[in-house]
Symmetry: D2
Subunit: 355 residues, 4 copies
């Protein structure tokens, strides 16, 4: 199933070393101004080679919108798009035809499909997220028109944690440093750690925090379509994600109900926001706050024990150009998936009442 | 959207104080022996009033299968079922018509729908999980025939954490104690804590761990249908859940790639299982391991500040019979949702290859 | 797949001789007054035993709404419902365990599922349409609030055709005669034919015409969701339906474009309505007009050649109480499926524009 | 909703005068040999300009498969593809910005979306079927490997009807004449009629018949997923289609049950095939036979009364290059949609039993 969303549906296709990554966004309402520069800008944010912290691969990712836009506005028809793959070094992956990289998807794709495009991870490559960036940028254009703002930042890299409450953070700092951390000093420490890990040929994980501001009460569904369940599925579908929590999350497991409950105040606001902006699966008008855990990238530049197609022991010496830490480039992907989820919930909300 | 699953689809309906909770399980293959006693047994595990730890409400939850079963076997046609609601004390909720309980879904339902069945939480009540238990029990019958075993237990209550590796645990202990903890001594401590919290009229949260054994390599989909994304959405759709992680989860964010990667061993197994049995969204044949964080129940028997329908400040004195800690009763619900997710992934796997 | 609709989704379950027929209507907006008497009235229209023309089976089909309605209004939550099966004569079908009735679904279910509830056709019985009647009645309540009116009538029985343009018909006649023909004289002829066929132990088919008035321009989708494609799928899913056409339909195949085109008139109406109210798959504000062809019922009270489970030749002597012509009872079913389709299209239309 | 199918899902995009027509085929199993020449051949069959009977527009429709194929085989990942639009004469349509062509989708799109790509019909253009041809060709590759053969031909043009039973037809004749009629003599008459109509600046409709051979018993679903309901929806989603029938269809409405029933014969075949190969919505192993009615093309080269955006009366003088009869080019489109429907039903059938 390569489709995300119920009413606003993004269907993606493409492999890392194929002709193109692309997708179709269906269900996007007519009449929204399509700012193509903004879409391209969002793609740039995800792009490799933005700083010495990220992979040195140069990917000139240019999006071509193929349909669904006329005279600068959405027409209500599906928006098809492609981003050509260029600058691949497929030969770097020739040795992967025969063996399985540890903690990658090589073995599981082999087990599932028999046939496998082993070059650069094929469909399991994080290049697939290019299509999410385009879909997410379009969703952001819709949400922007509704006054909804999505902001993510690197909260943790390895043991380094920025645990400042987000109200105390200066969001304009995020795009000023290559780590996309919301604090300049912490960003420097994180950058240093990433460089250190990189020089060891190793990799490191972390946590991204995201806040969504301006969502009115009423978005999200009961039962299986709870807004946080949809957000969780969205985030967990991003490569390397291992965990999702919202509001107090795991930490709240040791709180008492009397501490955790958010008292209502006149004006339909709450005294605290331990709920993370969602109650019973539906937004309550407060900021939506969640965190996403990323494991360290599986490709390390150190020898690793593994097996080949025949199941025999062998050693992997990975080459290729890889990120030592995906967090900086994952920040816009988290935002994109949040945007797709929220725009979908907005459309669903338009159907909830008869009046 | 009250339907869960892509190929095996559970559609649920029902409110806490309506006539019945029920559902339809569609896509269940023909020819599976339907053990109705097992379904009823699973319902009993979720039932209130099993011990002094849980609510004293007596719910005689008897399932009636209405279709899709003939002479003891599934027919491939949809399995409709209902569980009648009995023993409700709707009057306990009369005061909730006019006010919003903090950190409940009262306000958000009101904001979304205008019309609201306020009795016992209506559709947002955890009684809705009865339908999940029935669907999950049916899914377990399918999985059992495939040799797949799902086991969940209470890993944490408040600050009390059982962090023993599950290979060291005796799973047969789980159903022997009212907390459904996999360790007898820890279970006693947890029970004492829950009683203490209950006597304060307060509530407490915790974490459930779940392991799925016997899943072969190949279940799960790329992109948006990653097995852990589906499991995450399933768990986050359970009432009171605030977080989900699999494998190393959040803790792994501070590990290096060289530490976290699972080396492959001859025979297509792995030296470690930090991946939690899923790589690239697809099962790799190792045990699937995940954890689910629950907040403390929002209904506390202490006065709380809140507002009424007009947005004016007021005080809530909750009555009713409630759990001080949902974890013990949530254990089978976690298993049920895991079963539905995995049975769905099994069916998808049957379509992955042409041969 | 036992679910109909995209946004308004009816999931049905139940077999002819099982405990109950039922369903879940999900996506029904909150705030619509639920007139339970109307739902029961619609069920009565479908019921057997209304006249000597139809089967003498007495089915006291009483619907019980189990959820989704509170204080007389829809709540936006799924509406679950059941209708108990009573008065079945399962023994009438005992001989069908071993053989396949010609032109029934016995053999195909056997081939598909292996397991088969042979009593009264099981899931393939027209009793399944009870759930469609309930869902359709709810959809009619929604459409009525929008000023949309659906009217179907028996246009043809055997060789007897009422080919009067519907503008010349008196719709109030339809419910006055047992054939549900919109012309009293033709109704008498049709009734006589049906009685004649019945006395021969034979059956006869016919055509139902349906007109939908009050649909504004804009309902329906491009490409695969064309309004007439959805209507066609809805009608073809009714037991015994063999054909669907709208507007000029098959007859228009021999017209010239210059004759068939509907000239636009000032005020956004058209001079003619050969399009049947739908252009490019989207309603144009004119009446929607379509016709549905039904084959004669497959159960005849004459000996027929057939085979048993082993594939050996045998003879079937059908018993049981059956309709000699389904058209009279199919009229409300056609309306119900049209209502579900149109209510779904209405919801989709609410999402087409951003403003 | 621009997606067709449940398990094998084709999502299409693209407007007549946009950059490209394209789509994504998701759910296609791994391991199927992808014959790109065959896909291109199928595209050629749909292409304009094949003979003097069809439009003189030259469309060099070259498909580019962008993903999902590796070393000549499907990988189980989504197959994205595009066909560039070239040779459009957008200026031919400049006058359509302001007015609505009778019996086209101009007005209804305007009413639905507000924004409208008026050039060449935009999304409502039959050029959209290019994506169906590609998806259908892929589905044919799957079906061919299963021994399923789909053959459609022009059965009627205007009043000229080829009503020979298909067993008496020579299918190899179909591709030998420009009308795609299965009889050479009738093809000549039809061609003459089309030329005559074309010289008048008029258009004409007709009927296509399609037979599917080699489908085993068991494909199709009960209730809403009946195989003929899916086929009907597929056909009715093709531009200009006004009717669908299978087996005896409308004609059978005047037959008696005793005449229409198909007696079973030893060996699980039937003496006749009035059912058209489908009973109870599920294939019975006999040939599947259906017919599709097409209206005459709405674009005629004669002055027509219409209105402009303001609702004022005006006259349309259509220009552009158009088909006088779509039947010849629609034959492969009917086959393509049948192939997508049947391949989807095949996948569903793989899930019906547990064994």
């Amino acid at each position: 199933m390569n489709t995300f969303g119920q009413l606003l549906r993004l269907t993606t296709f493409g492999e890392s070393h194929g002709s193109a990554i692309g997708g179709v966004l269906d269900g996007f309402p007519a009449g929204i101004a399509i700012d193509e520069d903004f879409i391209q800008y969002e793609l740039q944010r995800r792009k490799p080679g933005q700083s010495r912290l990220t992979t040195s691969r140069k990917e000139d990712d240019e999006v071509e919108l193929l349909s669904g836009v006329f005279e600068g506005k959405s027409t209500g028809c599906p928006i098809g798009f492609i981003v050509r793959n260029r600058n691949q070094h497929s030969k770097d992956y020739e040795n992967m035809r025969e063996l399985f990289r540890p903690s990658h998807a090589d073995y599981t794709y082999h087990a599932k499909y028999g046939v496998r495009d082993y070059r650069g991870g094929g469909r399991s490559s994080a290049r697939e997220t290019i299509a999410r960036m385009v879909g997410g940028a379009l969703a952001k254009l819709l949400l922007r028109a509704l006054g909804v703002q999505i902001t993510a930042w690197t909260r943790q890299v390895g043991h380094l944690v920025l645990d400042t409450d987000y109200h105390q953070l200066d969001f304009s700092e995020i795009e000023r440093n290559p780590v996309r951390c919301a604090d300049a000093q912490m960003a420097e420490k994180m950058a240093a750690l990433i460089m250190e890990v990189k020089q060891e040929g190793d990799t490191i994980g972390g946590v991204i925090e995201c806040v969504v501001q301006g969502v009115p009460a009423g978005w999200g569904d009961p039962a299986f379509g709870k807004l946080h369940a949809r957000l969780g599925a969205a985030m967990l579908s991003i490569n390397a994600v291992k965990g999702f929590e919202y509001g107090l999350g795991f930490a709240g497991s040791s709180w008492r109900g009397s501490e955790q409950n958010d008292a209502f105040l006149p004006g339909f606001t709450t005294a605290t926001n331990h709920s993370g902006g969602i109650q019973g699966g539906i937004s309550n008008g407060q900021d939506i706050v969640f965190r996403v855990a990323f494991k360290p990238v599986a490709t390390i530049l150190q020898p690793q024990s593994t097996i080949n197609l025949a199941g025999e022991a062998t050693t992997l010496d990975a080459r290729g150009r890889h990120d030592a830490c995906v967090l900086p480039r994952a920040v816009p992907i988290v935002e994109a998936m949040a945007a797709l989820t929220l725009a979908d919930a907005y459309l669903a909300q338009r159907l909830s009442r008869f009046d």
